[in-house]
Structures are given as C-alpha cells and as structure tokens.
Symmetry: C2
DNA sequence: TAATCTATGTCAGAATGCTGACATGAGTCA
DNA sequence: TGACTCATGTCAGCATTCTGACATAGATTA
C-alpha cells in the first residue's frame, strides 16, 4: 500500500471509507434484488410507501435520495405495472398521494426478505455497542454535512 | 414521523442511514467542487494518481468505484485537456500507466483544499474516540458486505 | 384583496454510468 | 509448446439520473 503525505490520504480519509462502504452496500443490495427484477431505487420507493402510505412524489424522492423528476419516471412505471396507484386528480393542491396495490405489497415482501439478509450481514460483525455507535456516528456525520450545505 | 412495524424499519435501518450519509457527503463534495468545474469522480481520479502515480485505467476504476469503461471515458477527456498523460504504447502487457501533468497537479491542489474542508466538517462533530470508532465500524461493514458478495 | 413566495407535478434534453462484447497480452499448467 | 484462464483496454448501445424550465396550487404578507 503506497502513499505519500500529499493531499487527502485516501487510506485515512473518512469520506473515502464512507464512499467505499456505500458502494459495497449498493452492490450487495443490487445483487439480491436483481433476481427479483428490482433496482435499489425501485425497492426504496415501495418500502417507503409501505411504511408511510400516501406519500407524494416529492416526498418519495427525498426519501429515496433522488430528484423529483427521477421519482416521477419511476412512479409512472410502477403505476403502469400495477404496483402502486395514484388518484387521477389531486384531493388537495397538486399533491397526488401514492399507495401500494396488493400486487405491490406482495412484490415488496419478497424484496424485504432479500434486503434484510444484507442488513443482517452488515450488522453481523459488530457488537451491540458498535451497532449503537454506528447509528450515533452516522447521524453525527449527516448532521455536520447538512449544516454546512446552506448554513455557512 | 410515522412508521409501523412492517418490513425494514427505515428509521432503524443502518443501511438506510449509510445511504443517507453517503448522499449528504456526495452533495457536499459536489457543492465545493462545482465552482472548480470538477465532478467527484474527476477529483477521485486525480487524487488517486497523486498518491499512486502510474495507476492503470482498471486500477483507477476500482479506486473510484466505477467501471473500467466509465473511467476510460474520463481518462480520455482528462488526457485531451492536458491533466494526465498516458504512453502511446504499453510498456508491458496492455496496461497504460497514467500520470498527472503539472497542470493536473495544480488543478488537484485547489480541489484538495475544497474537499478537505468537507472532511474537516464531517469530523468536526466527533470526539477522537468517535473518529477512530467510525473508521473501525465502517471497515467492519465493508468487510461483512464484501464477504457475502461471492462467498456464501 | 392582491402580490409574493414556496412547493409540487411534469415535460424535454443532456450527462453520467452501466452492461455486453471483442481482441489482446500475460500467467498457469498439462 | 499449446490450451486454458484471467485481466486489460476499448467500442457500442442502453439505462438511469440529473439539470433546466414551466404552469399551477397553497401559504404568506402587505
């Protein structure tokens, strides 16, 4: 492992490590979701709707960490394939509350099993203390990064 | 914040939190790199070359968590714009060792300052202990996720 | 009430990254 | 030596996501 003192030493950069972990997580999730014909964003959307029925397109987008436009495309596909339903007209304002269909719920159930296996694997090598540390530390990182986004 | 007991509870999912942190980091880096006309992958490539001169296209791709093909496109652009150089013929095998030009090095210097500010911000809210915990825990997560990728 | 601001859904075009495929060079092993 | 395996660089086509833009609905404020 060669390295010199210049710049941000990648071996010691928390940002690089975070990116590496995220990349590994994404790969693991894609691997278990592929046999189900489902992408990570696809799964995220369904999971969000299961836990908070009636979310709008924009809310789903924020929850899945993509743009409104991207989520909009996905939602239309999911609606076309019968996984979700949206009212033809907005009950209030422009917001179209989205809900899972029975088919969407069934599809999600299989995916949830697959994804949970990844989550379990990730937690496996950690003690109880490390697990709660992980939550606290990740939350701290998110908070620090968000603060500077529009603050300073 | 509503939620029920079904499925993977996102509020308590380490995977979701990891994705959130990674998303925040990416946004923060894009924000500071945009004024320099540089993308995250672009910066990653230059930083890798600064620390390990002579890396091949494939090695750079693995280091930046993209495919060979993606890195290949980027390298050609960087070479065209005079940030890196690659020999016309492979000294050995097919591997074309890549190196930063003085221009590439100058460009990287500015980016490094910007990126370091993000890294500092991320570490700011954490104690010394938490910082070393963060490294250990992230490494543990990466290891666990990788193991299962082709193993079990 | 009227003006302004903010958030939403949506369309269009562009950028980015990926999968599939191919030829080639190097290492392995019979 | 020859067959096999593996990694590399590269081309082409496709998928996903993003940025920019617009009209509209609700909230805020003068």
């Amino acid at each position: 492992m060669s390295q010199n003192g210049v710049g941000v030493d990648l071996d010691k950069s928390l940002g690089y490590l975070l990116k590496e972990a995220s990349s590994a997580l994404r790969a693991a999730m894609e691997e278990v979701l592929r046999p189900l014909g489902m992408s990570v964003t696809h799964y995220s959307c369904l999971e969000l709707l299961a836990q908070r029925p009636g979310l709008s397109n924009s809310e789903l987008a924020r929850g899945a960490f993509v743009t409104r436009q991207t989520m909009n495309v996905l939602l239309h596909a999911l609606e076309r394939d019968g996984y979700v339903t949206r009212p033809a007209e907005a009950p209030v304002g422009k917001v179209l509350p989205t809900r899972l269909t029975p088919r969407g719920r069934r599809s999600l159930e299989k995916a949830t099993v697959a994804v949970r296996s990844v989550e379990v694997r990730m937690l496996a090598g950690m003690t109880e203390t490390e697990q709660s540390d992980a939550f606290r530390i990740l939350r701290s990182m998110i908070h620090s990064l968000r603060d500077g986004n529009d603050g300073a």
